[in-house]
Structures are given as C-alpha cells and as structure tokens.
Symmetry: C2
DNA sequence: CATAATGAGGAATGCGGAATCCGGATTCCG
DNA sequence: CGGAATCCGGATTCCGCATTCCTCATTATG
C-alpha cells in the first residue's frame, strides 16, 4: 500500500487500449459478441498479447464494451425523458431503444439477456427501468397509459424488441406501435 | 439401385434410436440445445458411438427433435383454430404458444430463431403463420382486431414471447395481454 | 544518452467438446 | 446351432479457440 514511485503509463499503451476498445465496439456492433479475440486484435492493429494485457479475458473485454454502450443508452434515455413531451415520452423512449439496438447487434444480444431476471448487468436494467418508471408515471397521470401498467411491462417489451431486432423477425417500428397500443387505457 | 436382399433392422437398434430421441427431447426441454452429446448419450443409456450412428451430427439430432416438437405445436394450434370461438381464437393461440414454450426451454430457443427471416425451419414458421392468418381473418371480420393487423405482427409477437419466456423477463401472460391489446382496432 | 522499466507481438500451449474408429458383443437367418 | 451382418461402446483423434509465455522493441527518467 506504499507509493513506490510509479512511472507514468506509456502513451502508446494508452493509445492501444483505446484502439482495442474501439475496434471491439465496431466488431461487436457489426456481428455480435461471437467474434474471436484474434480478429479483434487484428482489427485493432495490435498483437493478441497486447489485447490480453489490456483485457485479461474475453469476458473482460465484452464487459468493458457493453458497460460503455449501456451507459450511453441510459444517458440518452434519461435525456429523452427529461426533455420530452410527457405524453410522447414512452413512445420516444422505445423508438430510441429500437434505433440503438438495430444499429448494434452486440447490444441487442446483451439487452435481451439483461432484461431477464438473472443477476448480471443488473445495474443497466435498473437504470433503464428507473427512467421507464418516470415515463410511465407521467403518461399515467395524463391517462396516456392504463393504471395497471408497470415497469415490468416495459421490461418485457424491451426484451421482445431486442429479440425481434436480433432475429430480424419483422418491422420493429410496428412492433413498438403494437406494444404501445397495448399499454393504452381500456 | 438393386434390391440386395436387405435384412430387417435390428430391434435393439430401433429401440436405441427411440431412447436417444426421447432423452434428447427431455434434456433439450429442460436446459435448451446447449447440452453436450455425451450427456445425451449418457441420459439415453447408450454409447456416444451409438448416438452418432443414429444422428451423424449434433445438428441432425437437434433438427430431428425440433421437427417433431414443431409438428406437435402446429397441430395443436390448428386444432385450436378450428374448434374455437373466432373472437377468442387469437388469444387462445398465443396463450397456447406461451404454455408450450414455457414448458420447453429448447423450443423457445428454436421458435425465437425460427420467427426470424433466415431460411432454416421455414416450414414451421409458414405453418404457424398460416394458422395465424386464419385466426386474424376471422377476428378482423368481427372487428376484434384492426384492419391493419397482419401475420407479420403475430410473427413478431411470437418472437418476443419466446424471448420473454426464455430470458424469464417477466410474466408472459401479461405480455400476451399487452400484445393482444395492441392489435385491437383503433 | 544510458538504462531500467514497461509494453508489444505472436508462436506455442491448453482445453472443451464434436466426431471417428475399431475390437468385441448381439442379433438375424438358414 | 453357426456364422455373417449389424450394432455397440467409449477411448481417441481432431479442431477451433482462448489464453500464456517469452523475447524483443519502445518509452520514461535522470
């Protein structure tokens, strides 16, 4: 726990870390999380050894990327929630989710799983649902959605949305419309 | 192309094939399609070699099981469609799907994928959607669903339903209610 | 500039699991 | 019964990756 006169971390090291993260983000977005480590390294213009120094494990890399992206999503959602017309908030929120997910294969994998009840990536779900809760409250106050609507409903809708997008099961915008329709009162 | 006096296939061989199929069905239902071949063999009380003689490939085994189950599902759906009150048909259909999927982990994996636009397992999707089309027509005639509702909608709803169930993202019955609500006219 | 510390690279290794092989056991048929 | 024809079992091979390790290159520091 002493401070043994540590050197500044090399600049090239830092640069490489960024390169790896960026390459991973791009590859994951393009083809999901099943890409190989060597491929990430190649895309980053870096040796496998280097990649592994930065992220000691495949899982560590995935987590790093996912965390980053998730933070972006939550932030954007919150922004939407604050700025928007309350009656439209929920709709905008879901459309935004769709937009993001359809541009990021990896993310739709993560989100689909994350909305499940198992522990990992919990904070992301919590954060998203916190935003959703606010939107629901406001919408409910205006009578835009039924009294019985909960964040659990939104949770399921998002999970389904991710699946529809990931499997290209159809027009996700229409899916969102249907889901929103189902939340309306009466 | 001759008929070189073929023997009757051995009875034990046939018995073993059934055992394997049954064991695979049970394991797949329990824990999805990621179970190992050796595990299937063990559960079937059969050597790995035997398993591979019956199903030369992991994929072949999965396909055999899935095909079987899918046929069951389609048949049940058609029965429902024929027998039921037209206004309730679609609801019953989706509830039935939910019931089946929540009892069969493997099936929910297959169905989620199958509702996607990629080719394989096409016949199943076709068959399911054919039933759905009938149900939609009747419902539409009674004004139970909007004019704009299509089988594509049902396709996405089923895909989402499978995802919700597979990931335990919430109460799937509620999901079905919301989806149905979204299909109602106006 | 010298040199100690840190990082880079990528061949080599380890590992999980599908698929193969073949000596021995079983079953069919005359 | 006898002896093919078939089938069984599971050790073994093969393969695709992730991960490790060691040598060499690059950078920070005085």
């Amino acid at each position: 726990m002493s401070t043994p006169r540590t050197r500044k971390t090399r600049t090239d090291a830092e640069r490489n870390r960024d390169r790896v993260l960026e390459a991973a983000r791009a590859l994951f977005a393009e083809s999901g999380y099943e890409v190989q480590m060597s491929e990430v390294a190649r895309a980053a213009g870096v040796g496998i050894g280097t990649l592994y120094r930065k992220f000691p494990t495949r899982e560590a890399l995935i987590e790093a990327v996912a965390e980053h992206r998730a933070a972006d999503i939550v932030a954007a959602a919150r922004r939407l929630a604050d700025a928007d017309d309350p009656a439209q908030g929920l709709a905008r929120f879901l459309h935004h989710m769709g937009e993001v997910l359809s541009d990021d294969r990896g993310m739709s994998e993560v989100v689909e799983k994350a909305m499940g009840s198992s522990e990992p990536r919990e904070e992301t779900r919590e954060a998203l649902l916190a935003v959703a809760a606010e939107l629901i409250d406001r919408a409910r106050a205006r009578g835009a959605v039924g009294q019985e609507v909960t964040t659990g409903d939104v949770n399921m809708i998002i999970c389904g949305l991710a699946a529809v997008i990931r499997n290209e099961a159809g027009d996700w915008r229409r899916y969102v419309e249907v889901a929103l329709g189902g939340l309306r009162p009466l």
